[in-house]
Symmetry: C2
Subunit: 164 residues, 2 copies
Amino acid sequence: MSMSHACDHDHDHAHHLDSGRIAARLSEAQRLCEAQGERMTAPRLRTLELILGENAPVKAYDVIDRFHPDGAAKPPTVYRALAFLEQMGLIHRIESLNAFVACQGHADGQVVQPHAAAFLLCDCCGSSEEVAVSLPEIDQQAAASGFETRRVTLEARGLCKACR
Amino acid sequence: MSMSHACDHDHDHAHHLDSGRIAARLSEAQRLCEAQGERMTAPRLRTLELILGENAPVKAYDVIDRFHPDGAAKPPTVYRALAFLEQMGLIHRIESLNAFVACQGHADGQVVQPHAAAFLLCDCCGSSEEVAVSLPEIDQQAAASGFETRRVTLEARGLCKACR
DNA sequence: GGCAATGTGTTATGTAATAACATAATTGCT
DNA sequence: AGCAATTATGTTATTACATAACACATTGCC
């Protein structure tokens, strides 16, 4: 956690996942990688584990600091794992926070096509909610300009229900 | 300019503004600030000038390096000016590039309400096109979650017409 | 003039990310 | 199994991005 508090209420609503659910998500991720001929190695798994542990976006250096029980990892180890996990669609980078959050498309047995995800990011408690949206207006404007879209970043900053 | 070229064609289509147009935009910005009881000071004006000089997002340290004819500015000077200009709606921060681009709402006599701007960002030539969009789906999802949106970042990365 | 508010200059530091190169593990081939 | 090619990791160093803190200057207002 690392949020600047502009409020006095507690933030317990920003839950952690319990270890059982984390384990389930990790083995599901493992399976998904193998299905695509990619290797889910130890540092990748550890990085994903640390990100799944929060339901708020996690900073790269928080992962680095917590990576080993007895000391920090080297930055490239973690940045490489983050790049891999993002390519696999297991995590998303939150540009406006320089942080990473687990993709919710893989939670609770959901199966979601590769999607342009949008995020509702609470400035108070730091929580993140992923929502799937289509963007007809952007597609239309892009088409009108002859622009070929490869990927879209869509992040709404504000206050979540619990923090309003 | 600071774009990684994945192509061999030229990028002349990423025009610079001529000095006459820049001057017009600067005095328009000056007027706009005064109308709101804010001061358009020398470092703010210089920062805006350097950003208007490109039609692609400009890095903070590019502004810093070019600030004085004979040497760099100190980072806080420029970062403070950038924060001010963004608050005034004269520039936008592009999160996915860590860069800043002039707001097109003030170009060519346009008068635009404060808007959630979206950007079409070319990965090849670095050019930026600002488009105004409404986001009914996001508004809807936010409302459904009880989320109060304060501001939205919407950035499409891809290839512009000239670079496809 | 004198005070409060706002803006700037300056030093130092904090935070985020990658380059480059050496070593190790895995895969596929014969 | 032996070997080469590929992929991944370890490690050191450096680069890029951004702000804290405090001193000084300028402006607006009474």
